[in-house]
Amino acid sequence: MRRLERSSRYVPDNAAIAAEGLPWPRRRRRSLQSRAARGSVPYLLILPVVGAIALILGYPLYSMIRLSFERYGLFELIKHAGPSVGLHNYGSILHDPVFWHTLVRTAVFTVVNVALTMVLGTLIALLLVRVSTAVRILLTSGLVLAWSMPAVVAVQVWIWMTNLQNGVLNYALTQLHIGDYSQHDWFGSTLSQLGMVTTLIVWGAIPFVVVTVYAGLAQVPAELVEAAEVDGARPWRVFLDVTYPILKPIFLILTSLSIIWDFGVFTQPYLLIEQSKLHAGNYLMAIYLFEEGYFKSDFGRGAAISILMLLMVAAMSVFYVRRMVKMGDVR
């Protein structure tokens, strides 16, 4: 299987051709100097992008790192200057039990959200392959609509549907005799609050996974699946031994991206749970950052939290980038 996968991928792409350059004989005649000049071309080409990134991301990042080493509250904000306090902000965060509880909560939240998104997304993508064209178009357009819905609007719809007094969810569940859900409070406990946020995020994230996995499924050679079926493999085995290995790079990328997105999610939980129901017992990382930094006007501490979050996401991204690079190396 492995060999098959590799051989099927041996198609030199444009980038590879460009890197190899012109045929051998002419290159040999070139002087050392011009070769060095040629070697610098890729760097010159990438320079504008690096410059733009440095300007847009680098400078604010530098300011934030500096801020994280300063005592910078409302008083300092008005003075436009804060005294340096060394690692004090980091120390106070790492000694804050709320930080650790929030970190664990966010990690569990991320795992649940990513797992649900990936499993449901893959299942729907597999379904898309099997249904008729009409149903596929219907499903795809529904998914794209969900994908294009702005988070703020989706939150409003969720709030209406789950309304305690007149929400359609409580009404429907009661009418279907699933139980007495009249006056049921969907935001009554931390678990329930984060559960509602999870449904909203998974709902919003599934379309991207479906569309990407569905596109990937087109790469799975039909003969392989057929051959496996002839050999007596059940659908689950076919998925595990044929489909999954071929789609593995896609799954890896999607999972890594979802982890990065869900770990730092802010809009949905902040708006759905509402500011007035947020407290140290139901924070996610981004909300903890916002409450500590902005609501308490402790900008130095807020900056330190963002740097810590950035380091965590960067650590996760290293894995993602390494995978990407390795995949690019496959030859």
């Binding site: 007094q165 409070d185 009554g188 500011q275 947020l278 409450e291």
Partner: protein
């Protein structure tokens, strides 16, 4: 072709002119215009003429000075204000909630107005509670704007049908609610109270002689676990369970109590006296108001004295700002604010025949600590109430844990 070029040139010229005038406007702003941040409450149809009249009076004194009023929301105005403090372009006048003042006064965000008190009408008779919220370290930074109290807005027809008289004690009020609860449909609240309405819940605490926190030799100590506070919280829990079918974790502004009332799902609601505006056409004729009764006969329950101050941020045009505030808090202006249901800023104007002003006879205020606003934004009291009502923690446990949190925030 030539026409097109001409059109393009014209467009460019027009844009250039627009750009230069826009730039001109900002650079002249400090001398020829002032910016005022008011809360969106003042966008009401009956409120706008009052601001307009104040601006007209101001402009009679300062011809040609534009007054640019920008409306803000309670939830977001402090973050916006922080941004202007960091980046410049602060408003010249800002409306601040009275519980928000201390943190900003302590940080030095406002100009000292102690020397300008003579410019403000009725400064010697300012409502004490409001005037205190605008003072820090012996200096005056905030000018009292208006205050608000909370009263009961109720359905007279339902009370009459059930044979209930206007209650004069808390026990009667609770009994009336229990009686109506038996007659109402499912989800009907005899008194609709959002579970985490901490303004109302703390009124019980103060009614029973308790408190939130007080300063003991320079350190803030929680008072929530004192026996009197526990008695108040327990009374709130019992009252709530007997009369309200609202969300135990919900807040008093979502949904708006008057919307619940207008939908026929409540026999009474607690809130500002102006709630009577919005009870729905079918109930306007059968709506009355009374003051929340105390558990002690013959007294009213102490209510949270909410209100606003007007302050002048550092970097603002002080003399123009002071003159505008003086015009907006003039006797005439305050009387107009009173006419639309607010409590005016001066005891020389208050009128005991008005129900909301009677309700303000006994009032309480939050601890005047510079970090108090962090207790509010951290929802510590709301979370405590949710824990009590959902039964997640006992009254004592919830009060103790909230008290610890409050102490750590206030002493930070």
């Amino acid at each position: 072709m030539r026409k097109r070029i001409a059109a393009a040139a014209l467009l460019t010229a027009a844009l250039a002119v627009a750009a230069s005038t826009a730039l001109g406007a900002t650079s002249k702003a400090s001398a020829n215009a002032i910016t005022v941040w008011l809360q969106a409450d003042a966008t009401a149809d009956n409120w706008k003429p009052i601001t307009a009249a104040a601006t007209a009076a101001f402009q009679a004194k300062h011809p040609g000075v534009a007054v640019n009023i920008q409306y803000q929301t309670w939830g977001a105005h402090l973050q916006k204000f922080d941004a202007t403090l960091a980046g410049g372009n602060v408003p010249d006048v800002i409306e601040m909630g009275n519980t928000e003042m201390t943190k900003y006064m302590a940080a030095g965000a406002f100009l000292d107005l102690s020397g300008d008190k003579a410019s403000f009408p009725n400064a010697s008779t300012w409502l004490q509670g409001l005037a205190l919220s605008g003072r820090y370290g012996g200096k005056t930074y905030g000018v009292p704007y208006y205050a608000g109290s909370r009263v009961v807005t109720y359905r007279t027809d339902l009370y009459k049908k059930a044979g209930i008289k206007v209650p004069t004690t808390l026990a009667q009020f609770q009994a009336a609610g229990a009686k109506l609860a038996k007659q109402g449909k499912k989800g009907f609240s005899p008194v609709y109270i959002a579970g985490t309405d901490w303004y109302f819940a703390m009124s019980f605490v103060f009614d029973y002689g308790g408190g939130i926190a007080s300063q003991v030799s320079g350190k803030w100590k929680s008072r929530l676990s004192s026996p009197k506070s526990i008695a108040g919280l327990t009374a709130y829990k019992n009252f709530w369970n007997a009369v309200s079918k609202a969300s135990k974790t919900g807040t008093e502004n979502n949904p708006q109590p008057y919307d619940v009332y207008a939908q026929g799902q409540a026999a009474a609601i607690i809130g500002p006296a102006w709630f009577s505006c919005c009870v729905g056409k079918q109930y306007t004729g059968v709506t009355g108001q009374f003051v929340v009764p105390s558990h002690t006969k013959g007294q009213v329950m102490p209510g949270f004295l909410g209100g606003s101050d007007l302050a002048v941020p550092i970097g603002a045009n002080k003399s123009l700002a002071v003159d505008w505030i003086a015009a907006y808090t003039s006797t005439q202006s305050e009387k107009a604010l009173q006419a639309i249901g607010n409590i005016p800023n001066s005891t020389s104007l208050t009128n005991a025949s008005k129900i909301n002003e009677r309700a303000a006879a006994r009032s309480w205020f939050v601890p005047t600590a510079k970090n108090w606003v962090n207790v509010e934004n951290g929802n510590i009291l709301r979370n405590m109430l949710a824990q009590i009502l959902t039964g997640k923690l006992s009254v004592k446990q919830a009060a103790a844990s909230a008290g610890d949190n409050i102490e750590s925030v206030l002493n930070a």
